[in-house]
Symmetry: C2
Subunit: 256 residues, 2 copies
């Protein structure tokens, strides 16, 4: 059974990419076969894993347009159990293009491109989404089995959560009834900052069943690792940042 | 002469909204007549200024669809020289809707809605953009006289800057030849973090003429003020956060 986890939040800079890279790496280090699919034209996940679409472009955009099959787009990474499909700047064209595709099918383009035979080798597929609730994120929510929501412990972060939840509800009702919440992940938590503390309490109050016990602290290692094109677990495994994602992976595996 | 400044960067969470609110407030406190237009469906700028689109919605979305004229959408704020037009969640519909509007005109919808007679009372109009290079940001770049680019002092921030610059070049060539760079604003600068320092040096190296002298430090006041619906200058004027935006306003007025 392949868990397909969409990492989604339309608010910018909340740690979607950092969570994609480091959760995937931590699951791979637990010897689970993991695939990361970068769906964000900014391609931050790709550069954080030292992979590139190349020329001619072999990226998630070509997966959505059907130019190449799934299997031809897989790349290895520095971790033996972790594969990835990079994104490319062409993906910026997908949103306007999707608007003129038949409404009956444009939400399931990603799902249909993920052939069950091709994906079954993976225990986890992690989808990095851009900061929007447009067609890319919609496709991810339709293709996913669950959604993991990173939430920065800041005021604006709470505001957007309701909107995301409503979008998930609509997706469940129309296209993906078994979509579940993997969890809400408090990110960039600053122990000295009382706003951080009060946002965390608000999250736990409104979503008692969903907030992970694992909290990702603000840690300079998590900002530095991508500049070396590697997950924190390879850059500085003993750092608070790397350890917090190892704990998150264990928490997710424990709940199965 | 009305300066129309688009606050743009497709990277998420780099301080576009925080800069919109606090730069506008600081210019208003210098007794310049300022208008903020919130163009982001997340409506963070609106909540950070305690304004709302209301029912029936009177927001920047209705400005773009032509439902109400410019003058009917202006709201007062707690600062006498600062007015604002809020956004609303309806704006999330604009991107897909714009994709089916005549390509000849869909980039200038905002510009055409800003009647020269209506805007001339303002010295500055500040446009808060969403984290994308889609139709909303495109409209802002076409309507603007200059672009101010907040850049978080983190690794991924540098990657996106090239993409944004290329988009600006295309806008200049096709639709807005006089579009200039107001400046590049280093944000969330952390003095104890060597990555912060090296990103700042990279910025100054690649864009020597554009990087502001004013640097916005990471300061908890800038995160707390919006939870009280006010700019930092009204929440805690002596804070490093509020003072850094006062300095930015002075720097911009000096170059005016
Ligand atoms: N816990 C952390 N501690 C320190 N820095 C972090 C942490 N998490 C993320 N960062 C840094 O903060 C910035 C924003 O994080 P990230 O890019 O993962 O967010 P995002 O939600 O993917 O952004 P976008 O909405 O643009 O896709 C990045 O530069 C990242 O390296
Ligand atoms: N200098 C700062 N110090 C501390 N917190 C800050 C600072 N600047 C911004 N923040 C906080 O960081 C978060 C991201 O900032 P902001 O919302 O302004 O970015 P943005 O670029 O508008 O994001 P988006 O791409 O989602 O529109 C917010 O919660 C904000 O309050
Ligand atoms: Mg990202
Ligand atoms: Mg914003």
């Amino acid at each position: 059974m392949t868990h397909i986890v969409a990492i989604a939040n339309q608010k910018g800079g909340v740690g979607k990419t950092t969570t994609t890279i480091n959760l995937a790496a931590s699951l791979a280090v637990e010897e689970k076969k993991v695939l990361v699919i970068d769906l964000d034209p900014q391609s931050n996940t790709s550069s954080g894993l030292s992979i590139t679409a190349g020329t001619p472009s072999h990226s998630s955009y070509e997966l959505l347009t059907g130019k190449y099959p799934f299997a031809e787009l897989l790349q290895k990474t520095a971790l033996p159990y972790l594969s990835a499909i990079p994104c490319s700047v062409s993906m910026a064209g997908f949103e306007p293009e999707a608007a003129s595709i038949d409404p009956a099918g444009r939400h399931r383009i990603l799902k249909d491109s993920m052939d069950p035979e091709a994906i079954k080798e993976f225990t986890y597929i992690i989808l990095d989404c851009p900061p929007s609730l447009g067609f890319i994120t919609l496709n991810a929510l339709v293709a996913a089995t669950s959604v993991l929501i990173p939430v920065q412990c800041e005021y604006f972060a709470l505001e957007g959560l309701g909107q995301l939840m409503r979008t998930m509800e609509r997706v469940k009702q129309r296209w993906n009834p078994t979509l579940s919440i993997e969890g809400i992940l408090p990110t960039m938590f600053d122990t000295r900052n009382r706003l951080s503390m009060s946002v965390l309490e608000e999250l736990k109050k409104h979503f008692p069943a969903d907030v992970f016990s694992s909290i990702i602290p603000r840690n300079v290692i998590l900002g530095e690792a991508p500049s070396h094109g590697m997950p924190a677990i390879l850059y500085d495994v003993m750092s608070k940042g790397a350890q917090s994602y190892i704990n998150l992976a264990k928490e997710i595996l424990a709940y199965g």
